[in-house]
Amino acid sequence: MISRPYAAAKRTLGIGEKLFDVNWGLVLLITLIAAGGIAMLYSVAGGHFHPWALSQLSKFLVGLLVMVVAATIDVRVWMSLAYPAYALAMVLLIAVDVAGHVGLGAQRWIMLGPLEIQPSELMKISLVLALARFLHGKSVEDVSKPLNLGIALAMIGLPAFFVVVEPNLGTTLIILADGCSLLFLAGLSWYWIAPALAAVATAVPLVWRFALHDYQKARVMTFLDPEADALGAGWNITQAKIAIGSGGLSGKGFLNGTQSRLNFLPEKQTDFIFTNFGEEFGFVGSVALLILFAVVIFYGLQIALGARSQFSRLLAMGITLNFFFYIMINGLMVMGLIPVVGIPMPLLSYGGTAMLTVMFGFGLLMSVHVHRQVEIPRHSGGII
């Protein structure tokens, strides 16, 4: 019944071996994408390293270090840190509602010494870690038991609540999507899933009616008919579409995007950075970028499927899906397929917390790969 030797699994890998085992192909891909992002930040600043490109480069380099370090740390260490990380993120999240200062009309930032961090970003990774740990010991049947399901849903719902009241709809959606995906992958019964989908469908009108802020409703209405208020709230969508569309097949060329350089693009350095990419590199460049993203996701899927423990698998898949949801929501948003929600494009958009959490996520993913042979007993709580 046990068909393979466990010597390899039990043996502690040396740091050299670990570094050798890191997915350097994946690192190269990530670096390529991030380089594209830095080039875009250089471009939207009108061909200057200030104020974004240089800063983003340093953030990426820090992120790269964080990633490699995280990759070499045993996945079981991460497992044992899962709950504390979740608790810490939760505390910060509540603190941001209390003490966070107002940015962009929503409380999303908190100052931690010199660092300005977004707890909601931390929460995404922490939630994936904590859920993976919680579901690690649960069989398919266990997952569908009401008590376990209730705990898991509470773990998802609690941070979702504190993020949505910030208010930050985009991150809330990603937290919900990450959490539900992990439940699904852990084997949640269709008998739960089907009614839940039905419930969500009925809840949408109620959420619209009672839960959404005016600015959120306005965004949705604007999305449905952007030309109705082309100079007001519809401006973002209209200008983003013009930027991408005007790129044509091969784009206007690096540094030649007029939409962003002349400030027609809002939030050009953050959420709408992809529009500048589309404008300057056209269909060819944009599809190439999407392919790079897809290959990264494929890597993540492969790593998840190659891991031997349920925690590792769920963690890898959770990180990959989190990355994917970013791309999906941001891509659909800037191309005018869904309403504008504040979600950056991973690796491209300017922003420290997002860059660091994404890189840290990749570090965890690589840790799963490096420690893919590690077996973790079902009732284990990690090695710390």
Binding site: L185, G187, G245, G278, F283, L301, R313, M335
Partner: protein, 629 residues
């Protein structure tokens, strides 16, 4: 404890299955994103490219200089001067436009009404369009704005051009004025110039009639702008076509004299060149300053203009319609000769009145004039003579000659809104009132009352045609740009030379023979003598009692009830060169209109503008009937 139990296998299988399923879902999302990129960049790429260019490139319209207006000797009657003004760009006003206006208001005088108008204009335009806040600033005010510019985001000092009328009210009824467009002006006018905030168009007179020529066509500056409308650089510049200059037949010196001579009377006067119909001067008083309308007239000023009983806004020359009174008598006399009625032997006896049926028609001279020939009838302005003559002629023959002399129909002068007096016919009355023409009607018309009306311009034309015997029309515009205001050489009138000569002789006797009604007002300097015909237009109906005991003296009446005084004349008598018509409303007492016409004709003849070389730029040689010097 086994690490891989059945449960773990089953959940690994579930995980793998569901992961691959999600992988499929993710692939689908990437396909959707790619499809959307195809839609935006390939299928609709060209359209978005155009929109991006539209975003980037802003066509700024440039108003070309408006054409100037000159008199016949090249004196600028309307030109453009520097206009120091302050513009406001809403998008750049970071403190808000209301605050910006308040700050400007601390530096230069700015009324609440002005502020309100700016706010309205701002609301009507895109946020990057500069909107004028204040114009025609003094250099001091302009400097003050420039000095404080660092504290005035969105405020742009600008040196533009504005219309200027150097002679103020002197020529206002000819030139008209320019003013900001009203919503009605924009209907059906596609000229892009009108989109420029603060652009002025011609509202009256020459400015209105020749507005499109004076405007020129818009120039454009293609500039690259950022999203806030700030100009990054100029990509191209297309100078517009300047408006065309207009050359009038007016002589500003004569015009000035006329305007001053009319003074503050409610009066109108026209001086023409009898050979061509060219108008040398044309004034209606009181006037008003056209610069007021350009700068923006205040409600008080506007009320003052509209409520003045001397009606300064009305161009009485062509908008005032009056009974011509005795100035119509030469027409009747002419008709009498043409009809073969007034032979040299023709006589009418006047005993002070004429009875027709049970109605008595009175002559202005109680006791009558005795027996008169045609020239005597004109000289004495004998009412009975013309009652009787008109009675014998019938209205239709009079009407025929009146039309030939330029009455009864608009003269066609190149100014907007010309009105026309009226000359009745038998058929007209039948049709209009369903009542047959009465002989009594003819009698009234015979002395220029009743249904007969005329504008001063038409009376000037009557005098002009009698003087020259040519079928000329009044004209005030000589050239538009390089184009001559073309017209046919004046043909002789279809009237007999004998008739014209006898009427002229009658008019000569009016002024130059003792006993003539205007002998006291003659020009006595040899060679400058004028011939003329006085007239009085009744403003009120005389009562039967007045006919018995004498008409109440005008001087005893309210100004509004006094008769109008009219006069037509030409000079010099021997070889007529200039004709003149003059009317003073409610001014029959003391014949001020005759005195004015006399002074004006004397001044004109002494200056003799027709004998001076004109300053018309080209084609002057083709002026009909005019020797070129």
């Amino acid at each position: 404890m086994p690490l891989f139990d059945k449960k773990d296998k089953s959940r690994y299988a579930t995980f793998t299955r569901r992961s691959l399923g999600m992988g499929g879902g993710m692939t689908l999302v990437f396909a959707i994103l790619t499809g959307r990129l195809y839609q935006l960049q390939i299928r609709d790429g060209n359209q978005y490219m155009t929109e991006a260019e539209d975003n980037r490139i802003n066509e700024r319209l440039l108003a070309p200089p408006r054409g100037r207006i000159f008199d016949r000797f090249g004196v600028e009657l309307a030109n453009n001067r520097r206009n120091y003004r302050v513009l406001l760009v809403a998008e750049q006003a970071t403190q808000g436009v209301q605050e910006a206006l308040d700050t400007i208001g601390k530096l230069i005088a700015l009324t609440d009404a002005q502020k309100k108008r700016v706010m309205t204009t701002l609301a009507q335009n895109k946020k990057f369009v500069p909107v004028p806040v204040a114009e025609n600033l003094s250099w001091e005010e302009f400097s003050r704005i420039n000095l404080h510019l660092p504290y005035l985001p969105g405020v742009q000092p600008d040196v533009g051009e504005t219309r200027d009328y150097p002679f103020n009210d002197e020529l206002v009824h000819i030139l008209g004025y320019v003013a900001q467009t009203s919503p009605d002006d924009l209907k059906g006018d596609e000229d892009p110039l009108l989109a420029i905030p603060g652009y002025r168009i011609g509202k009256r007179g020459i400015e209105r009639r020749y507005d499109s020529a004076l405007r020129g066509s818009a120039g454009a500056s293609r500039v690259e702008v950022n999203a806030y409308g700030r100009v990054i650089r100029e990509l191209g510049h297309e100078a517009g076509v300047p408006g065309q200059d207009i050359w009038l037949t007016i002589d500003r010196e004569v015009q000035q004299f006329v305007a001053q001579r009319l003074g503050n009377e409610s009066a109108a006067c026209i001086v023409t060149d009898v050979q061509t119909g060219d108008i040398i001067a044309m004034a209606s008083t009181p006037g008003y300053d056209p610069n007021l309308f350009n700068v923006g007239i205040s409600p008080d000023q506007w009320r003052g203009l509209t409520e003045d009983d001397h009606k300064p806004l009305l161009n009485k020359v062509m908008d005032g319609v009056y009974p011509p009174g005795s100035t119509f008598k030469p027409v009747v006399a002419m008709a009498a000769v043409e009809a073969g009625l007034a032979t040299p032997d023709y006589r009418v006896s006047c005993n002070g009145q004429l009875t027709l049926g049970n109605h008595t028609f009175h002559c202005w001279k109680k006791g009558g004039h005795g027996t008169l020939d045609l020239e005597g009838g004109i000289k004495n302005s004998c009412d009975v003579f013309f009652y009787e003559t008109a009675r014998r002629l019938g209205i239709d023959k009079i009407q025929e000659v009146a039309v030939k002399l330029g009455l009864g129909a608009p003269t066609g002068i190149e100014l907007p809104g010309e009105k026309s007096g009226f000359i009745p016919t038998r058929a007209w009355k039948q049709k209009r009132y369903g009542v047959a023409w009465q002989q009594g009607d003819t009698l009234s018309c015979g002395i220029g009352q009743g249904y007969v009306t005329a504008t001063p311009l038409q009376l000037a034309l009557e005098a002009t045609r009698i003087a020259s015997g040519k079928k000329v029309s009044p004209r005030v515009v000589h050239m538009v740009g390089n184009d001559l205001n073309h017209r046919e050489d004046a043909l002789p009138l279809e009237l007999s030379a004998e008739g014209l000569a006898r009427v002229r002789e009658g008019m000569n006797q009016v002024t130059n023979v003792p006993g003539g009604t205007a002998y006291a007002f003659r020009i006595s300097e040899p060679g400058f003598e004028m011939a003329g015909k006085t007239g009085t237009a009744q403003v009120r109906a005389y009562s039967a009692e007045e006919h018995l005991h004498g008409v109440t003296k005008d001087s005893a009446l309210d100004w509004k009830l006094r008769d109008h005084g009219l006069f037509i004349a030409f000079a010099p008598v021997a070889q007529p060169k200039y004709a003149c018509a003059c009317i003073v409303e409610h001014g029959a007492v003391g014949h001020p209109q005759v005195l004015m016409a006399r002074d004006i004709l004397l001044f004109t003849q002494k200056r003799d503008p027709l004998n001076m070389p004109t300053a018309y730029p080209i084609k002057a040689a083709s002026l009909p009937g005019r020797p070129v010097r």
